[in-house]
């Protein structure tokens, strides 16, 4: 409201601007609005163009790609590239398409998300309600650790995983995702539990409930929103990961992002741009679905977890 007033004052120097009826028709086509929406539309085009080009390219045959331009819609829509990207595209010796990477990613993302949230929610609860001596110290290390480049910690983790005997396996990668999700998730849950009324906690303790009882019967039922936020954060973060996937797994367990990169950036053979773009969309599909379905919650999630980088 105030912004609009400040603006129209600037545009028309009409100091008596206060009657909504008088201003309305002018507002729709005012110079200010043309500038405002014009800029927004230009910006929106820049953000949408790559998505459009991806889709269009993935629906064309190779002859059409070689002749036409990348912005032109397909003359003959073909789903062949999609089928090929999913089922028969080659990486190295394997020619079973992205489907293998997809299922690997599912097998990585689901347990990583569940474990990391389970552990972090209990951590956050302990930090918020059952502080013990030194807890803040460990928590500070954890938060500072979130800013340290992964590259600094990767090799020691390789050694630890090798010693345990899970280096190169899916469980090793799942553990790594849990470790690196811990700082931000713990922070998220700690802040959330700390914001709940402390009387609830006190009353439960007077009634004789213990650590786990209070957590399971009082805290959990009240924290659905934060669990959803944490889930969005973890699913998109883990699905999109590349570095950990390439470092901590063997080729047969590569997640979808690593496999996609190998398919598209492979040096042998003719580059099939349509297959590449179909593969790229397929890889982006899961986080995009999460993003579109969760809407506002996604924004909350990234605002809360943006530090994960």
């Amino acid at each position: 409201m105030t912004l609009k007033n400040a603006n129209s004052g600037l545009a028309s120097t009409d100091q008596t601007y206060s009657e909504p009826q008088g201003a309305k028709p002018r507002r729709v086509i005012s110079g200010r609005n043309i500038m405002l929406y014009g800029t927004l539309f230009v910006a929106a085009t820049y953000y949408l163009l790559p998505l459009y080009v991806m889709i269009v390219t993935s629906l064309k045959g190779m002859p059409e790609i070689r002749l036409g331009n990348i912005f032109s819609p397909p003359l003959e829509i073909t789903f062949e590239p999609w089928v090929k990207a999913w089922a028969t595209a080659c990486t190295g010796l394997n020619c079973d398409g992205l489907s293998r990477g997809f299922w690997n990613s599912v097998r990585i993302t689901v347990p990583s998300t569940i474990f990391s949230i389970a552990v972090a929610s209990v951590n956050g609860y302990a930090l918020a309600n059952w502080r013990f001596k030194g807890a803040d110290f460990f928590f500070s290390i954890l938060i500072i650790g979130a800013f340290i480049p992964y590259q600094v910690m990767i090799y020691p983790i390789v050694i630890v995983l090798r010693e345990i005997g899970i280096y190169g396996t899916l469980s090793g990668l799942i553990m790594v995702h849990c470790i690196f999700g811990m700082p931000i998730l713990t922070l998220l849950f700690r802040n959330y539990f700390a914001s709940l009324p402390v009387e609830l906690f006190k009353a439960a303790r007077i009634d004789g409930a213990g650590f786990w009882q209070i957590f399971l019967r009082i805290m959990l039922p009240m924290s659905l929103p934060i669990f959803v936020v944490a889930m969005i954060l973890q699913i998109t973060g883990i699905w999109n990961d590349f570095l950990f996937g390439v470092v901590f797994t063997r080729p047969e367990y590569y997640p979808m992002t690593v496999q996609l990169n190998n398919i598209v950036n492979s040096v042998q053979g003719v580059k099939e741009y349509n297959v590449n773009m179909a593969a790229t969309i397929l890889t982006g599909l899961v986080p995009l679905v999460v993003y579109f379905v969760s809407g506002r919650l996604f924004v909350r999630g990234i605002a809360a977890g943006a530090v994960k980088g």
């Binding site: 405002l36 390219t57 340290i148 910690m153 811990m182 999109n240 993003y291």
Partner: protein, 301 residues
């Protein structure tokens, strides 16, 4: 985890036992992985470890070698250019978009969705899409040429001197939506009365933004800068997907140098030295921020 003070307060150790047990994963992660791992890497960066890590110290040799390596110097230059420009452009574009979005516009949700969706995507996906768009044979260059502008040249990914700007374009596409969101949240936190007061005083809107609103949003700007900066140092996936460091070594970045020396060239000492330098870079960014954020006794998360 210490129970030494047991005698004074007999109940304390037992009462918090559950909490301590529950915190074991966090404590292990913090101490063993984050602290232990970092110290381990720093210590081994002073050794001449090759295929396997071994403790034969060679002083600063690895660092001399690192800074004598053209590839590392190029990586640092790229990181500097990429970092400076992505900070400036992210903040400017993010803030301008947020300011436009804050004008009580129609379809605000639609625009927000459009600006933010790239952020949901993997850097690998972003890199590959922009590799395609910037492909001189098929992409933007060829489209503009086919419109009759036959000398038009726009092939950043194939020109060593400007390849890093090609990476930058993709990075901005992916990341500015997030900055816009943070800025928009900051703008919404500004009291409406400020705008009224500025209007009463006859201050033009751009001046209100520049001299009143932006200074008031200082904490948001600092938080955003830290987020952008810590992302910049880690940039890896995008380069791998978009250029694989090429042409030649023109778009190498430190994170890639570390990975290649640790896992491809089997020269662990170099990898550790390079990653320690990354750590130093981050410390330079984080320490002043931590001082500003937490030194004043004010907490903002």
């Amino acid at each position: 985890m210490t129970g030494h003070a047991k005698a004074d307060r007999p109940n304390q150790f037992l009462r918090n036992l559950n909490s301590k047990i529950a915190s074991i994963p966090m404590i292990l992660t913090a101490v063993v992985i984050f602290m232990g791992g970092t110290i381990w890497t720093v210590v081994y960066s002073f050794t001449n470890s090759k295929l396997l890590p071994r403790l034969s110290f060679v002083g600063l040799d690895q660092y001399y070698r690192l800074w004598a390596a053209p590839r590392w110097v190029v990586s640092i230059e790229n990181l500097a250019v990429y970092g400076i420009f992505s900070m400036i452009f992210s903040l400017v574009i993010g803030f301008v978009l947020a300011a436009l979005m804050d004008q009580k516009i129609r379809f605000e949700n639609t625009f927000r969705t459009i600006f933010l969706y790239p952020f949901a995507l993997s850097f690998i996906v972003t890199g590959l899409v922009w590799q395609w768009l910037l492909n001189p044979e098929f992409g933007i260059q060829s489209v503009v040429r086919s419109l009759g502008w036959t000398t038009f040249t726009f092939d950043p990914l194939y020109t060593p001197s400007i390849v890093i700007y090609g990476v930058l374009i993709a990075a901005l596409w992916q990341g500015t939506g997030l900055v816009m969101c943070l800025m928009l949240a900051g703008l919404r936190g500004i009291d409406e009365d400020i705008w009224k007061a500025a209007r009463v005083d006859g201050i033009p809107m751009w001046k209100t933004y520049l001299f009143i609103v932006i200074p008031m949003m200082r904490p948001v700007f600092i938080t955003t800068l830290v987020i952008i900066a810590s992302g910049i140092v880690k940039v890896y996936d995008l380069v791998v997907a978009q250029t694989s460091g090429g042409p030649g070594i023109a778009s190498e970045v430190p994170a890639k140098y570390v990975y290649d020396y640790m896992f491809q060239a089997q020269n662990l000492g170099q990898g550790f030295a390079a990653s320690t330098m990354m750590l130093v870079t981050v410390a330079i960014v984080i320490i002043p921020w931590a001082y500003l954020e937490f030194g004043g006794g004010r907490k903002r998360v």
